[in-house]
Each structure stands twice: as structure tokens, then as C-alpha cells.
Amino acid sequence: MSIDRIIGYALRSWFILALVFIFVPIVISFIFSFSPNRYPTLPLGGFSTGWYELIMNEAPVPRAFGNSIKAGVMVALISTFIGFAAAYTDYRYRFFGKNFYLALALLPPTIPVLILGLVMLMYLSRISLVGELYSVVLAHVVYCIPFAMALIRLRLAQMNPDLESAAWNLGANSWRAMREVILPFTLPSIFAALALTMAVSFDEYMIAFFTGGVTETLPVRVLALLQGQVSPRINAIGSIVFTISMSLVILAQILLLSRRSGERNVAAGGK
């Protein structure tokens, strides 16, 4: 019995160690973004918001921040719409070439972002669509659709398949059944998909680096600084990036966990 307990403690400690390994760099970056010193030392030399003031007064950072926000919102809206449409198509229809259709929908994240970025650069530059913010959006949508589609498809899988046909039998046409049954039921996952795809776009550096050219987003700024000397600017920019993308990912998860609310909406809408 006591050996069981020791093993239990050891296993749990291992899990906590793994979490420490995962979170320590994030915490360190956050802490040292407030350090007045150039090189990280312990104990901290004091508290300063100097690095944040510095990056906010360097033109590239606020501009990159604006670009990231704009691109993130566009990517979220487009990829969530396409992801929803594809998830619904997969849920409702059987058709010739469906496996190919699903492969197109789900494969992009299995291709390394470096290659995806390079491919996009080569292709988009042939059709003169490279180097602008919309180039980043085009490419990010390809990468983000699978996440949106997966979230919404999982939600549709939880739906009673008779609900939609019940609406048809009660005289609703396809569009009305979509509006009054499918949409309310999938709403939490749609919002979760919006948040998650925006987070993925906001955090993605490689595709954005290749397709954006001089139009930098915030993570591309980090990438540029990473290749230079040690600079605590990265800590400051990084802390901004991960505060935003983490908030979005957390929001997505909270939306998915509160799934009961969606069911109540359908029940109310169905009356």
C-alpha cells in the first residue's frame, strides 16, 4: 500500500515537473521583461517598464502590433466561416471525393510552417500577391481552417441528428433549419474557433515572415530580433504576444467547456 502511494507521488511530481518545464520559459520571459538590466541576472536588479517604453517608441513595434491585430481578425473571420461550412458539409453530406475534400481541410498543419511559408512565397509572388498584409491573411487562413473545422465538427458530432430533420418536417426549409437549429447549437464552438484561429494567426511567425515581406507582424519582429543580439526587447514584445494569444486560447477553452448553454438555446429556439 505505501509503495503504491510513493509511486503515485512520484508520478504526480513528474507531471508537475513537465508543467514546470513548459511554463518556466514563459514566466522567465515575463519577469525579465521588467528587468532594468540588459542581461538576465538573479536576483533582479530592480523593476522597470523601460523595455516596454522602448519598444512602444520604436516605430516598427506598434506598426507590427497593428498588423497582427488586423490580420488576426481577418483570419479568424474567414477561416471560421470556411471551417464551419466545411464541418457542416462533412456532417450533412456524403459525396464523391469526400476523403480528398477532408484531406484538403485537415492536412495543412502537418506540413512544416517553414515549407508552407516558402511554398506560399513562391506561389503568391508568381501571381503578384506577396508582401502585403492580405498575403499573410491568405496564407494564415489555409493554416487555420483545420483548427476551426475540427472544433465545429466535434460540436456537430454531439448534436442529435434528428434535430435538423425534425425542423424540416415541421416545415422549415434548409436555410431556416440552419438558422434556428444548427447555428444556435454550434454557436459556442463558432466563438471558440474565432478565438483559437485568431490566436494561431497572432502567434504564427514563419508563414507571416515569408509572405509578409516588409509587412511585419509582431511575432515576425520577435523572429528578426531573435537572430540578432540578446535583447530584452524580445521579452517585452513576447510578453505582449503571449498575453494576447494565451487569453484567446483560454477564452476558446472556456467557451467549449460551457457547452450546456448551447443546448438550452436550441431547446428555447425549438419551441
Partner: protein, 282 residues
Amino acid sequence: MRKVDGYALFWGAPLALWQLLFFLAPLVFLVVITFWTVKNFRLEADFDTINWVKMFSKSYVIDIYFRTLYYGAIAAIICSILSFPAAYALAFKASPSIQRIGIFMLITPFFTSYLVRVYSWQTVISDNGLLNGVFGFFSFGPIDMLNTMFGTMIGYMTLTLPLVILLQFFSLSNVDKNLIQAAHNLGCGRLRTVFLVIIPSAKTGIIIACTFAFILCFGDLVSPTSLGGSNPPTLSILIVDTVKQGNNWPRAAVVAVVMVLTLIAVAFTALYFAYSLKKSKA
């Protein structure tokens, strides 16, 4: 099955259009461009196998290819081994509410700030970094960690650990608890139960997790450059160097095509083993 109507087209077409135009077409173009040539720094449409011949005749390219395979495989195996006790603890030694928190703590970092975490590791493991500062306090070191294979591996683990623990956890929590109980009742020891009952039942998920780790590490650029010091190079570093030097897109495309084909081959082999082994057990 009804005829395809406007409603079906409205929902079905956007994905097909977007991914054909901006995913499949670029990939096809990637293959096409490997046969083009560069003359006076200008790309010309052509049908020449020179890029393939040149890239495959260089022994250092072959070396880099096998090194990258090796790095990816080592990282995937280390990550699977390190993850297993953690996934096991979460699946069998945690209450449902702790499990929810654990999943939450793993999903969040997987989607965020890989780049920043790699930078942060730089400051932790560099020669005058935090870790060597601690070592110095106990008057040993400094130990070279940055710009070594150890550094690269730290980066790879940062990239893969959350995902692999999660995937292993999901497959472990699907293991039939009665099976484990039965093994205990029949006098099967703890370790033997893990290796003879639990791991075989969760094999599919464990292999898939390991494959994902390989895919992520095989194509990663950030860890081998920023933590491994770009030396020795991996295929991703080779791609970037080829693009930078003389803008030789066709040869970079050759490397990219080879990488994608390798990933497809690895993924299919892994899926074959993941599912066939499961069937033979059942």
C-alpha cells in the same frame, strides 16, 4: 441522395475553392519549380532535372538529410518517454477536476509563444545565463548547453511535450480499467501490467503522438538555429540557406519536396503500425 443544390454548394464550395487555390496549387507549383532553372539570378520556366541531380550528388546534403531524420527520431523517442509518466499520472492518478485543469494547462502553451519560449531558453542555458549562474553559485560549471545538440533538444521538447502528453493521456484514459484490474487480480506486477497490458492497449495513441513529435521536430527551424547554433545544420536550415544564397528557389524546393515526401512516408508507416498492431492484439 438529392441533387446538389445551391444550399449544398454554398456550404461545400468555400473550402474546396480556397484550399485548391491557396494550398494544393502552391504545393503543385512547388513540385513544378524544382524543374525550373536560375539564370543570372532570374527564375526561368524550364524542364531540367539539374536541381535534383545537383542536390542529390552533394554528400553534405545527404548527411544533412540523415542527420535531420536522426534528430527527429531521437526527439520523438525522448519526448514519448518523458511524456509517458506524466500522461500516466494524469490518466490514472488524478481526479476528474485535476484532469480538466491539466488538459487546460497543456492545450494553452501548445498554441502559444513557442518563439518566445525558445528565446527564453537562450537566456536560461547560455554560458552566462541563469542556469550557469546557479551552477556558479555552487562553484562548478559553466557547462556548454547553448549551441549544442542538448540545446536543440530542449527546444524540440518545448515544441512537442504538451501535445505528446495530451495525446498519450487521451489514449491512456480509453484503456479499459477492468483489464488493468484483471491483470492485478491475476498477480501481474505493476511494471508488467504497464508493459503488457496498458501500453499495448494504448498503442495507437502512443504511436500517433510519437509521429506528431517527429513531424514537428523534423520541420522545425527555430530550435536548431536559436538553441543549436545552426551547426551542424538540419534540412530546414539548408532550405533557408539555399533561399538566401543566390535566391536559388528551385533547389530549396527540391529539399522541401523531399521533406514533404519523407513526412508522408513516415506518417503512413506509423499509421500502418498503429492500427495493424492493434488489430492483431484484439
